[in-house]
Structure formats: structure tokens, C-alpha cells
């Protein structure tokens, strides 16, 4: 891929030629390799080097057109600018996105610790070893049908015709292991684990193996659960996935589109138990995927979303911030219509609960480890969810795996009925969060 300076030069030259006075570009180049294995043998290796750029052009009437292209040489960029210019004639007439007022502000000086990629044989050997370790862990673990080890180098940039220039490089490695059991007369069960770090050398493969192994074995002795109302404990991953599914609660663009459970007047209202405080923190030390600027070039930052149960801030793009009289928060993705999305959650207990709760002493509590099929079972516009899950029924610290069951409820009720937030945080790829106790939810198992 050409350098950012090359692209800036191409864009400037083409824009001048096309009579375009105002434009910006956001782009990324990715170089990645991933491997899968099957019973000790390589199954598929994938490698990719790809790039894409999105250009925005403002025409003489101030209307905006965009085009995305994978062709980032001078000719490709010129075609993209030309197409965007053509599209601008049909661009929105109201609430047109503009450059972020913070596109040239200082960004965080974050040590990203780039780690160079390793060769494919090392990736394969690492994954084959991990697969074998899982297969050896228990006679019932018959296969690891879903597995993968990937490494990725990423270069991203933002520039605009007013002089903004941003660029950063990142490296990542990830592993996932999802094992499946087979036992005579019993249904197959499965469970998995994922880990992420900046490179293979720092990836905690052993922890991934251990977690996948423990979870898989824990689901062998499964039993159906009678349908009913249960006290529920969400794992970090489960709670964060639910919170994220309903992120329209604090997404300023969704609110302005009237496709949210909140309104502009919701700021300051009590939307959750006073126990709950939630930040979105792209720069959190545990966020391996930390980015220092968003798609509009706005610096990212830590934003309090819910403070002691009160909705304290929305996540903004430059455009939503302007409309709602706020500051951009570094959550924008560039586009004809700029979208807003969270980066990395940090959930903490706002205050001590009257009495700590513990799975070691609680009775008849459903511990939800992982929610499934969120794309199908969440109605974000209504607040409702009905989701299959992996988890256990816990009595006095003893956990028994639950055969297929669903949990259903309303996110607003869930947030209000949080009973306890444990002190010990868990680190997940999507954020940092302790286990969260919720008073009562409907579980459907055996009718």
C-alpha cells in the first residue's frame, strides 16, 4: 500500500484536477495470516494483504458524497473522488457531517508495543499443540472443530483537506479453541475460549487451553432446568455482550434517529441500579485493540456512560455532538451517515452492596457464562431479549451444567434489578467487567 503521504499527495492532485475543495479520507491496510488445524494437520491457512479507503467530498452546495475503494493508487483514488463528487449531488441536505473540530487535536501518547509476525510453521505448531492438549485433557473431548490462530498488522490513517494527518500502526494475535464432546447416550456438548494480545509471543495460549478444557468438561454432566424465574449471575462476557446489544441506550446517533430506548432528555436519569458504573474506554490498559483516534480523526478517550446507575454521557461523533451541544467522544466511523459505536467497556461497582453475594453460598442461582445468537434473539428497539445460553445451575458452590435453555427479559429491567457487582474484574476482548448479579429473570428449559 502507498504511504499516507503518497495517498495525501494523490488525493490532493486528483481533488485539484476535479475541482474539489473540501474532502477527507480514512483508510486502513491490513496484513494478516490465520491458520486452522484438524486432528494435528493444517486445515487451511489464509493470508491477506488488503487495503481500503473511504473518501468524503463536499460539493459547492456543502452537500456530502462518499465512496469506498480498495484501489489506492492515483487512478483508483481519482475514480473514488469522482464518484463521491457525483454522489454529493444527492447527499443529505440536513445535518451534514463536517470535519471534526478535534481532527488536529493532540492524541494520546500510547505505547502500542508492536510485535512482528511469526512464520506460518510457528503458528501451525502452536495451534496443533493447543489442539492436542485439549484432546488429551479428557476422553470425552472428541474434537476441536472450531479453532484458529491469527496474527494481524494494521495501519490506519485519517487526513483531510484542512491539514489533519493522523496515522497509527497496530499488531494483534488471537487464538480461539472450541471443543466438542461425545459420550455414549449423551448429547454432544461444546465450549470454548478466546485470547487476544499484540503478538504471538505474548498470547496466553495456555490460559486459552485451560479455560476451554475446564468449560467443556464442566458441561459433560448436564441436566435440564425446569422453566421458571431464577436469580441470575452474568459472567463478564455475557453481561458485556448484553450491554453491547443494547448500546443504543447511550448511542447519540441512535437517539437522534429515534431508534433508541433513550431520548436526548434521558441524560441524568436513573437507568440502572445505583450499584452500576460503566465507562467506555478505548485507551484502557487491557484493550489490545486500542485506537487513539476514530474514523473522523477525533482522539479517543475514557467516557463515563453510566455513573451510579445514572445515564451520564452519550457516545458521540462530531455531528451528534454538535446537534446535542456536547463534545465529540471519539466513537465515530466515517461514512455518508456517520455511525457511532462503543470501543471497550469498563464496568465497575459504584458502591458496596449491603451484603456481598457469593456463588459459594447461594442456592438455585443460574450462572450464565455465554449468551448465544444475539443477532437473532435481541430486539434492541423494544428492549427485549430471548437468548440461548451456556451456563450452570449453582447450589452452595456446586455447579451443574444446564441443558439447552433460554433466558428472556427486558434490558431496562435487568439494569434496574442488578443486585450485586463482584469486586474481581474479568478481562475479555470486549471489555473489563466483574460478574454481575441480577435479581430475577425468566429461564425456559423444561416446560
Amino acid at each position: 500500500m502507498p504511504t499516507v503521504q503518497d495517498i495525501a499527495t494523490y488525493a490532493e492532485t486528483s481533488a485539484r484536477k476535479l475541482g474539489i475543495g473540501k474532502y477527507d479520507l480514512y483508510g486502513a491496510s491490513v496484513d494478516e495470516t490465520s491458520v486452522q488445524v484438524d486432528k494435528g494437520e493444517p486445515k487451511q491457512v489464509k493470508a491477506s494483504q488488503r487495503s481500503s479507503v473511504i473518501v468524503r467530498v463536499w460539493n459547492d452546495q456543502g452537500r456530502l458524497g462518499v465512496t469506498t475503494t480498495t484501489d489506492v493508487d492515483p487512478k483508483g483514488l481519482e475514480l473514488a473522488l469522482q464518484t463521491a463528487q457525483e454522489a454529493s449531488a444527492f447527499g443529505a441536505k440536513e445535518h451534514i457531517p463536517d470535519f471534526s473540530p478535534e481532527a488536529t487535536a493532540a492524541i494520546a501518547d500510547k505505547d502500542v508495543g508492536l510485535i512482528p509476525p511469526v512464520e506460518v510453521p510457528e503458528l501451525l505448531e502452536t495451534l496443533v499443540t493447543a489442539e492436542q492438549a485439549l484432546l488429551n485433557a479428557h476422553p470425552a473431548i472428541a474434537s476441536v472443530p472450531y479453532n484458529g490462530l491469527a496474527q494481524r498488522s494494521l495501519e490506519r490513517f485519517y487526513l483531510n483537506s484542512a491539514g489533519a494527518r493522523r496515522q497509527e500502526n497496530r499488531s494483534y494475535a488471537s487464538i480461539y479453541l472450541y471443543s466438542k464432546t461425545e459420550q455414549e447416550g449423551r448429547k454432544p456438548r461444546s465450549a470454548g475460549s478466546i485470547r487476544l494480545h499484540r503478538g504471538l509471543q505474548k498470547l496466553d495460549v495456555q490460559a486459552c487451553i485451560k479455560e476451554a478444557q475446564e468449560k467443556t468438561i464442566s458441561h459433560l454432566d448436564y441436566r435440564p432446568i425446569p422453566s421458571g424465574q431464577y436469580r441470575v449471575v452474568f459472567s463478564a462476557e455475557a453481561f458485556l455482550s448484553l450491554l453491547d446489544a443494547f448500546s443504543n441506550l447511550f448511542n447519540a446517533q441512535s437517539i437522534l434517529d429515534r431508534r433508541s430506548l433513550s431520548t436526548p432528555d434521558s441524560l441524568g436519569t436513573q437507568i440502572a441500579s445505583p450499584l452500576l458504573t460503566v465507562y467506555d474506554d478505548a485507551l484502557h490498559a487491557e484493550n489490545i485493540s486500542a485506537e487513539t483516534f476514530d474514523g473522523e480523526g477525533t482522539p479517543t478517550r475514557r467516557v463515563a456512560i453510566i455513573t451510579a446507575g445514572k445515564l451520564s454521557n452519550f457516545l458521540h461523533s462530531a455531528g451528534t455532538a454538535k446537534r446535542l451541544g456536547a463534545q465529540p467522544t471519539g466513537h465515530a466511523s466515517i461514512g455518508a451517515k456517520v455511525s457511532v459505536s462503543p470501543s471497550f467497556y469498563h464496568v465497575v461497582a459504584a458502591e458496596s452492596a449491603p451484603e456481598p453475594l457469593s456463588l459459594d453460598t447461594a442456592d438455585n442461582v443460574v450462572w450464565i457464562d455465554e449468551l448465544q445468537a444475539l443477532h437473532a434473539g435481541v430486539n434492541a428497539l423494544q428492549g427485549a431479549f430471548s437468548l440461548p445460553f451456556d451456563g450452570w445451575l449453582v447450589n452452595q458452590g456446586k455447579r451443574v451444567s444446564i441443558e439447552s435453555a433460554t433466558v428472556a427479559g427486558d434490558i431496562r429491567s435487568v439494569l434496574q434489578s442488578i443486585l450485586y457487582i463482584e469486586p474481581e474484574p474479568e478481562i475479555t476482548p470486549g471489555g473489563v467487567c466483574p460478574r454481575v448479579w441480577v435479581d430475577v429473570l425468566s429461564i425456559t428449559g423444561e416446560a
Partner: protein, 494 residues
Amino acid sequence: MTVATSPTQLLRTQEIPHLSYTATRDRFDDTWEAPLATLLGLGRAAGADLVEFFLEHNHFISCLAEDDAITSLSPRLVTGAGVRVFRGKGDCYVSTNDLSFTGLKVALEKGLAILGLSLPGPHAHIPEINLELMRDYAAANQKEGWLQRCSSMQEMGDVLLAANGVLARQASHIQARRATYFRDWQEVLVAASDGTFARDIRLTQSVGFNLLCADGDHRSSISQRQGDSSDPNFLRQWDYETTANGIAESAGKMLYADYVESGNYPIIMANQFGGVIFHEACGHLLETTQIERGTTPFIDKKGEKIAHESLTAWDEGRSPQEFGTLDMDDEGMPTQRTLLIENGVLKNFLSDRAGALRTGHPRTGSGRRQNYTYAAASRMRNTYIAPGDYSLEELFASVDKGIYCKKMGGGSVGPTGQFNFAVDEAYLIENGQITKPLKGATLIGEAKEIMQKISMCSQDLGLAPGFCGSISGSIYVTVGQPHLKVDSITVGGR
């Protein structure tokens, strides 16, 4: 692409750097034969068992109307290629945006290196790869002018705004209304060292509404989408009056609906998008990718009864205009009609090239991928349950207390065959009659069990467009079925 010389059949590797292939950026035609044949030969000379190139141009545009304004018009121009190298039963896939000869050669070399292969020395002969005479489905089926005949940006905006205006008049308690359209024009070229050389143009379009209604704490949201795979006039012919009327009525009924009470019920599933149950609960489990992983309970059941005898099911890519229709798959194989289940007996699996290699099940023209960044995998096309002999009245009359699932949402199937999907519009059935609307239902079950419980199929087969996400990305598919009865299924609710 213009070629300086006709392909040299006994090229030496040392001559390759001096070849002057000059790529055109705009079209895949038979001038690509020479450079691709050279590269394929190079891959074979390095020791690969089979090499395949997939080249793609893509012109995509989406348009969004919210209330009475166009708020997004987003073109996307994509050029890319992927090379897949097979050696034994292993393979690797390398993708790139660089379609120059050098760029493709770099991708090939990378793929070879991953499999422990390297290009032969400077004096080696490159074996001749005799590509077939290009099978050009685009030219044969008059697709060349499709892109130019599609709606302009202006027309997209005009139609969507008019449609949203109609919806505003039809619905009540509107909180937000959206009309969406996209057009996905894709030109592909496939060349493989087994001689495959084929080109196609695909035109996939979709248009629909999303309506959110609210009255105090009562909310309902209904979406409706239509799709097409071959008609440049598709958007112009969209009957948005009828569609708007339908979703306005549905949203109105669901606005004050009670939440469903969880439990086991007999259900009647509507035709068209009700077919998602078969797509998730069975279709995915008949893909050879699932056999390779050992994640399908049907792995050794070919020729055996896996479903109720009332059930016959197809997967095919031939129905004119359906969303999952293709002239050829993404490995250059003509698509076909594949009988999956006949009267409850498993007849065939869906297989791509790698699936055939690793499982022995013959290719079915089912190798599909979202784009050049993915290797093809066995995927569904238009998948549906065949109509049966019952009338709709007979289905309803057989249910004392159950649920009518009129409109399905999305769903998924897990690695153990466990599936789930949401119901967007449901009604209680009491004594064979619909009595009240219900919301919040999710259907869950095991594929093996549910297939035995589909006991009655009516005569009214209906198809609907959908999107299927899996190992090779998100692809366009059709789901479908007649109205059918499932004797018992677990319904998750409040």
C-alpha cells in the same frame, strides 16, 4: 488485459520477469487467459496439486431514506483477487487488492510458501495449463448492460422517499421509518489448473422497509425485505404500496401484543421466511464443511431417514431471479438443483471443491463466498421445503393450543446441531383459530429432533430473500417453505 504475446506453452521461469502483461482495470475477458494460465502453470511447477484464482470487480451502492430525507448514499468500488493452493488435503488461501501480473504472482508465491513450496529455478519449464474456452455466462445471458440499466442515484432517492411517504400514511404511532435499498454488481472470473475458466456477472438487489412504532412503553418493530438477482428494473417495479400496507398492519397488531408464555407448543410456521427454520436446523448441517468438522449429526446418514416422511427439501441455484440464484458458483461450476431430502430420506450433501476433496461427496455447484477475501466453502443457495398435500385450514384445525409464527427473525445453529431463531410476529392459536398477537418468542431445539416433528406441509410454497453468515462470509440466499406444522417445539419467552 492486453497481452503482448500469445501464451507461450513451454515458458521457462527465467522468462517470466520479462513478460509484459498489461492489465486493464475494467473488465475480465479472455485476454486474462494468458497471464492466468502462466501463473497456474507456475503453481503446478512448484508442486501444488491444484491452483485456483478468483478475480472480482464489485460496484456496490446502498441508499437509505429516513422519514422524509435521504440520509445515506454510499458507493463502494472493490477490486481484488484470491488464489487458493491445494496440496494433498491441505490448502491455503491468499487474497490481495493488486490484480497486476506481479501482484497475482506475489500472492501465488506466498500461498506456495505457506505450503512449503517454492517456485522452480530459472531454467525450469512451466507446464502448459490448457484452460477451457471461457464459459462466459455474462455474455451468454446478456448481462453486460445490467449495471447501466439499473436505477440511477436520483431514482434510488426518489423511489425510497416516495415509499417512505406511503408508509407514513399507512401506519400509526410511527416513531421511525426507514426505506433501504442496495445494488450489488459483481463481475467474477475463475481460473483453475484443472482447466476451469469461467466468467460471470451477478446483479443482486434488495429493497425494504423498517418500521418502528411506539405508544408509551408499547413498542413494535417490523421489517420487510424483497430481493432479486437479475432484473435491472427491480427497484422501479417495487410495489411499495402493498408492502407498506402489510408492515403497517403487522406493526399495529404487534404494538400492544402480550409476551409469549414460555413452554412447549405445537406451532404453525408461515411460508416464505418461515423457511429459515429449515435453513438453520438442517441446511447448514448438510454442508460438507460441517462433515469435515464432524459437527453435523447427519454425517453418515445418507440414504437414511432423517426427517418426517412428509418432508422433501431442495437446494438449488436455478430459479429465475431468486436471491440465491447463480449461473455458476464461485469455483466456476454451474449451479444445479440438488435434492437434499426426499420423503424424509437424506439424499445429498452440499459440496464445494475442498469438501469434495476431503469428504468424497461430489461437488454440487455450492462453492460460495462473500468476496475475494474468502476462500469458497459449501454454502446454500435457494433452499426450501417442497409443498405438501394439506390445506392451510387442515393445519390450523389440527392445533388445539399453539402458536402461529407468521414472521420469523434471524436464527443460528451451533456446533452440536442446536438451533434457535426469533419470531418477529406471532399469534396464539386456540381451537384452530388465531386469537391474539404475541411477541418475544424464540424457538429453540435440536436439528435431529425437529426434523422428525415437521408433520404437515401445506400446498402454498413461498420463498423469501435472506442473508447467510458462515465461514466464507455473508452471502445472499433464499429460504422457503409452505405453511407447515411442527408437532412440538420449545418456545422461549417471558
